[in-house]
């Protein structure tokens, strides 16, 4: 059971306090406008931001560990904008995501390439020449090379065409089905509600709502959080 129980208390603007949990095989979405604190929360879990509070991964307290140690404990990170290494080929990008030697890494790579066959055809291509959707797949693949228990994604659908995002979401469900816990931050409310098992809504650095997608839609809390209370016509999302 890969459950993180997170209570963070951060001085400063972006994140006031957030408490959440993700279980193995679950897809959990963080919703919120920009500045709400989604990215900061993910970075804090990864160890890239200073924070006080508890971060437990599978029962183990990792809050005092550096980012690279947390990665080795089983967290994979797909940052906003992908942050692929300039100049590295697809193959090198994937291999560097593994902490093993070349031979073991290549084995893991063939497993990851089954998930993303379009990358298998382009192993020698420099990463910057790939399309947006392919780059996103590559970034996810890179994170998967480390065999993470928890996968963090920061706005994976940003800048991608809807049909590509459909593909992406399908893949993420598959990854979760394989037992990985998936926590993603999404600005697109509709997408998040489609894919997630549970949703947290953040506003101004705090969790303001939590629940299943169905419950979030009927309560109207999202519209209030994003657009302001009065005179907003009810917005219905596709079932």
């Amino acid at each position: 059971m890969s459950e993180i129980l997170l209570a963070i208390d951060v001085p400063g603007a972006a994140l006031e306090s957030a408490s959440l949990a993700v279980a193995a095989g679950e897809v959990v979405a963080l919703l919120g406008a920009n500045g709400a604190g989604k990215s900061t929360l993910l970075r804090t879990i990864m160890g890239l931001e200073p924070a006080c509070g508890a971060v437990r991964l599978g029962g183990e307290e990792i809050g005092t560990l550096s980012a690279s140690r947390r990665a080795r404990r089983g967290i994979g990170y797909v940052p906003e904008g992908r942050r692929l290494f300039p100049g590295m080929s697809v193959r090198d990008t994937l291999l560097v995501g593994s902490r093993r030697g070349t031979a073991a890494a290549e084995q893991r790579m063939s497993a990851v390439l089954e998930l993303f066959p379009m990358l298998a055809e382009r192993l020698a291509t420099p990463a910057w020449q790939l399309s947006g959707g392919q780059q996103q797949m590559l970034a996810i693949g890179r994170a998967l090379m480390g065999e993470p228990r928890l996968l963090l994604l920061d706005e994976p659908s940003l800048g991608l065409a809807p049909v590509v995002v459909d593909e992406l979401m399908l893949r993420l469900r598959g990854i979760a089905a394989g037992g990985t816990a998936v926590l993603l931050a999404e600005q697109s409310v509709a997408r998040a509600l489609e894919i997630a098992d549970r949703v947290y809504a953040l506003a101004m650095g705090r969790v303001v709502a939590e629940g299943t997608p169905a419950a979030m839609q009927t309560s109207g809390v999202l519209e209030r959080a994003f657009l302001g209370a009065d005179a907003v016509p009810p917005v219905r999302f596709p079932p």
């Binding site: 406008a33 940003l158 697109s188 509709a190 650095g205 657009l227 009810p234 917005v235 999302f237 596709p238």
Partner: protein, 597 residues
């Protein structure tokens, strides 16, 4: 005398006493020193002048110049050549030794100062190498590698200064003059302007400080002081050679500056004296000068980056009882009442690309006096780029920005700040080393042109003028209810109050248009209400406001009009109520599949 005034007098005495004691000790030593000892003392004085000069460009302006040794050498050679070959006297050679490196610095300044730090260091290093080559290969003129001998002594108005005490005294009188000048230039607000410049270039531009002018002045001064030091060196030693131009001079200067303290007057003395005498004391261990310099420099930069003087000042500050600051009374400034409803800002076709990405694809809009325009849009839509282009922090690729009839498009950030556009940043641009009051007073002085070396020499950046600027600064702080924070260092401001200080900073430059980038971030409801009230107040006074926000519940009630950006284009514009209902806006915020019920 009130107790506060008495305490201040004691403090001043306490600050001056060490100098008086040191001067007395120096004179006492010199009176009883051997001729050799006097010579070393004179050489130490030469190094003090060199380091004082280096402090301008390296310490205050924060630029790693590696040409200081070359300027020193040029000064020395000018004195030697004109003195020994052409028989010119001190009163002619000394000023020329200052002017020659100054001229060189002026000649290369324009292109070189624009370079980013490691290129600037390299360019100055290259310059130093060329100077060395010129010296070594100057044939008869420079005496080649062996150099020139027979540099005459110092002759002042017919009096040949005898070697020994008098000679050393003359050198140290020049040192004192250099120190006096350095103090006068840096003691006032100009010195504080340099602190902001090197630590926080963004805040410097926002306050209207001209980075180019300040850096140029520092570079020229450092060259002039180096020339003076070189001239004195030639007189003391009686010879110049390629050693005088060698890189080791530069390294020694750097070591002395870092070890002593690169921004404090005392640091120049401490560093120069320490590193001149250290090899003397270690003379039994031959040739360990380089080792001493290397070790001292490494220890200093790692353990005590502000040098010995900085460490002492820090200890004194920690031990001293915190003084109860006396806040200046706020000045009464007339409220600007501009006529509302007239167009203030006209933006046409504003565009920007970053590499292959078009961040802004041609934006048109206007803001009238007294109007609040809200700008909304998802991540990456170009809102902050828009703010950067209008305020001059980024150069546009097309379009015009016209404020009150003046075309601001070609201007840079600091010029635009002084021309009437103020802005805030997502992370408040407040220089951490200054107090809130100093920062605001600096903005006032910047507006009144009371900064810079000419102003410092004329005394316009301290005394009465400074007090007036501080009083005016208090006025703006009080408007924002931030006057209680006046003596806080900007780095110690509680996050929730930083917004007040930043808006006070903006107002202190008397802007016509204010750009605010996500001002409500991190504020609770009560603070947001106060912010909203303040914004309305500014609008009533005739200012135009451009407010970028994600927080719709905050923005929609405050703005007169709202413009929405998406992927670099303005896709909607109108009254807040209409924007709220606009389907394009809703779908951009809530996801493309959302529709109206």
């Amino acid at each position: 005398m009130t107790s506060a005034a008495l305490a201040q007098s004691w403090r001043r005495l306490g600050a001056r006493a060490p100098w008086a004691l040191a001067a007395l000790a120096l004179i006492a030593y010199a009176a009883s020193a051997s001729p050799y000892g006097l010579r070393v003392l004179a050489l130490a004085g030469v190094q003090v002048v060199l380091v004082l000069g280096y402090q301008f460009i390296f310490g205050h302006a924060g630029a790693l110049s590696l040409a200081q040794g070359a300027f020193f050498g040029i000064g020395a050679y000018v004195t030697a050549i004109l003195g020994s070959r052409y028989g010119l006297g001190f009163l002619a050679t000394f000023p020329l030794s200052i002017l020659a490196p100054l001229a060189l610095a002026a000649a290369v300044a324009a292109p070189v100062l624009r370079l980013a730090s490691h290129y600037f260091a390299l360019a100055t290093l290259g310059l130093a190498q060329v100077a060395l080559l010129a010296a070594v290969n100057g044939g008869e003129l420079t005496g080649g590698a062996l150099g020139l001998t027979g540099v005459p002594g110092i002759v002042l108005f017919g009096w040949a200064v005898p070697r020994g005490f008098a000679f050393t005294a003359v050198v140290w009188l020049i040192v004192a003059a250099g120190a006096w000048l350095s103090l006068r230039l840096m003691r006032g607000l100009t010195g504080r302007a340099y602190t902001v410049l090197r630590g926080d270039p963004l805040a410097a531009a926002a306050i209207g400080l001209s980075e180019q002018r300040l850096r140029l002045a520092a570079f020229l001064l450092s060259a002039g002081y180096a020339g003076a030091a070189g001239a004195l060196d030639a007189h003391v030693l009686g010879v110049v050679s390629s050693e005088t131009m060698a890189f080791s001079v530069m390294v020694a200067c750097l070591a002395m500056t870092v070890v002593g303290g690169s921004t404090r007057l005392a640091g120049a003395f401490i560093g120069a004296l320490l590193l001149t005498y250290l090899p003397e004391w270690l003379r039994s261990l031959e040739g360990y000068a380089l080792l001493a310099y290397g070790a001292a420099l490494l220890l200093a930069i790692v353990l005590a980056p502000s040098g010995i003087a900085g460490a002492i000042a820090g200890t004194v500050a920690a031990l001293a009882r915190p003084e109860r600051p006396i806040l200046p009374a706020p000045a009464e400034l007339a409220q600007p009442q501009g006529p509302s409803g007239l167009p203030l800002l006209v933006v046409r076709g504003l565009a920007k690309r970053f590499g292959g990405i078009e961040a802004l694809k041609g934006i048109d809009f206007t803001i009238d006096r007294g109007e609040i325009l809200g700008v909304i849009g998802p991540n990456g839509s170009g809102k902050t780029t828009l703010a950067n282009l209008v305020s001059g922090f980024v150069q546009s690729d097309g379009g015009t920005v016209i404020l009150a009839g003046h075309n601001l498009t070609p201007l840079g950030a600091s010029e635009i700040a002084r021309a009437g556009i103020g802005r805030s940043f997502q992370q408040p641009a407040l220089p951490p080393e200054l107090s809130v009051l100093e920062m605001a007073a600096l903005a006032r002085a910047s507006l009144s042109n009371d900064l810079g070396f000419r102003a410092a020499l004329a005394g316009r950046d301290r005394g009465d003028r400074r007090e007036r600027h501080e009083a005016e600064a208090m006025h703006f702080l009080r408007i924002l209810d931030a006057d209680a924070y006046a003596h806080y260092p900007c780095s110690a401001l509680p996050y929730r109050s930083a917004w007040r200080v930043e808006i006070a900073r903006i107002l202190a430059l008397e802007p016509k248009l204010v750009i605010l980038d996500e001002p409500a971030a991190g504020l609770n409801e009560a603070e947001q209400g106060e912010l909203a009230r303040n914004l309305r107040r500014l609008a009533r006074l005739g200012l135009g406001l451009l407010v970028i926000e994600h927080n719709m519940p905050f923005l929609l009630p405050v703005a007169d009009r709202v413009m929405m950006l998406d992927e670099g284009r303005a896709i909607a514009s109108g009254k807040p109520e209409d924007i709220r209902r606009n389907p394009a806006v809703v779908s951009a915020y809530l996801g493309r599949r959302a529709g109206l019920a």
